[in-house]
């Protein structure tokens, strides 16, 4: 039963899609569901838009936030978090003044599974599948959906070999999943102020640049938001996250979404590397979904509130 949906369990793609339809149907005051395109294998690329319609007393437009999960298929904690966040937003809208403020003043787009073909494949065939499922040369499949963006395409940290896990693809935005998100964000770039993408595992909050060691122009504002986000994470269960530019904190990588988004004028662009640091890695137990999602929700709310204040 969808009214008893278990947010502390990992769900199949079919279950997530049914859940999205259910949320759309049962919470129409706060949720709108739509598709931004189709995947390589023809699956709809669903997005949930959270937020109340702006009242006539407020600005006629609202600033927007984009969140995506499930870019890399095997990182199951990502889609679990996106679902948890939607549930929290809806359930606490009336009781939590911070959440109320966020949803009244902003729209949040949540894409729980950016790479539905890969995610499904990780349930049915290969638990550790990372890429999309497009057919490539040498009888190999898939492209790394976080190396396929039109920014320093296929330079550092990306592979030209179609059989590698970090294959950048034959050309930028070759993957329909990446192209659809890029087109949507590009169209709404004047409104979207924060981009957040959720990955695993490393326990980090990262921001641009990924492809070079230079600091971003608004480093102080972004660094301050990231620092507060990791403090918020720590406040829940004492878990320590590192934060900083992706290039120096994690490693150099080209063609990543955070760099492309930042380059398109979105001032706050973050990649979360959720729990853990390798004890379980990609097979994070279900018992850790709850604490991971609670601490990450605090960080997301903190970053969002940072936007509502002036930096």
């Amino acid at each position: 039963s969808l009214s008893k949906y278990d947010y502390e369990d990992y769900h199949t793609l079919e279950e997530i899609e049914k859940w999205m339809h259910h949320m759309n149907r049962t919470h129409s005051n706060l949720v709108q569901m739509f598709s931004i395109g189709t995947s390589y294998e023809g699956r709809p690329l669903y997005v949930l838009k959270l937020g109340t319609k702006p009242s006539t007393f407020r600005k006629s437009y609202k600033r927007e936030i984009w969140m995506d999960c499930g870019v890399h298929a095997r990182e199951w904690i990502g889609p679990a978090f996106c679902q948890w966040f939607v549930k929290e937003a809806i359930n606490t809208y009336k009781s939590d003044r911070v959440m109320k403020k966020i949803l009244d003043f902003l729209y949040i787009y949540v894409m729980p599974v950016l790479n539905p073909d890969g995610y499904r494949y990780s349930w049915t065939h290969d638990r550790f599948w990372r890429k999309t499922r497009s057919k490539m040369r040498f009888n190999c499949y898939g492209v790394d959906a976080n190396r396929n963006w039109k920014i320093r395409f296929c330079e550092e940290g990306a592979s030209l070999n179609p059989c590698d896990n970090t294959y950048c693809g034959p050309y930028a935005e070759s993957e329909p999943e990446v192209k659809a998100v890029a087109q949507f964000i590009h169209k709404r770039r004047k409104f979207i102020k924060i981009y957040m993408t959720f990955h695993a595992y490393a326990q980090m909050v990262l921001y641009p640049y990924s492809y070079q060691y230079d600091a971003i122009p608004n480093f102080k504002c972004v660094e301050s938001a990231a620092q507060k986000a990791v403090q918020a994470i720590n406040s829940a269960y004492g878990v320590r996250y590192r934060h900083g530019p992706a290039s120096s904190t994690l490693y150099l990588s080209s063609g990543s979404s955070i760099d492309w988004v930042y380059n398109n004028g979105i001032p706050y662009s973050f990649a979360f590397e959720l729990r853990d640091t390798g004890y379980y890695g990609f097979v994070l137990p279900q018992g850790l979904i709850r604490p991971t999602c609670i601490e990450t929700t605090l960080a997301v709310k903190n970053i969002t509130m940072h936007l509502l204040k002036k930096c």
Partner: protein
Amino acid sequence: HLYNNRYDGDKVIRIVPKNDNEADELKNMYQQLQVDLWQPSSISNIWKDTITDVHASNVSSEALLTFLQQANMEYKILVKNLQKVIEKQNPSKAKRKRR
């Protein structure tokens, strides 16, 4: 068994190369064995002091462990049998499959 028991005996091994030479040897070995790198995501990101977590099949892990012992490189086995972890940590998936 989930996934047709394909991960039976697979291991996840953590190795931190102490110098450039070890890092290069490790890169070569990973390429030869075609292992599934968990951290970092690409072989090109392996340098000295980089934490590398690698998922190796039952057969590949034997070869990798022999190499590490012969090369006197320190390692830690994070997961001894990946299939068991998958089965244990996804009880509801097993239930679903049984249904």
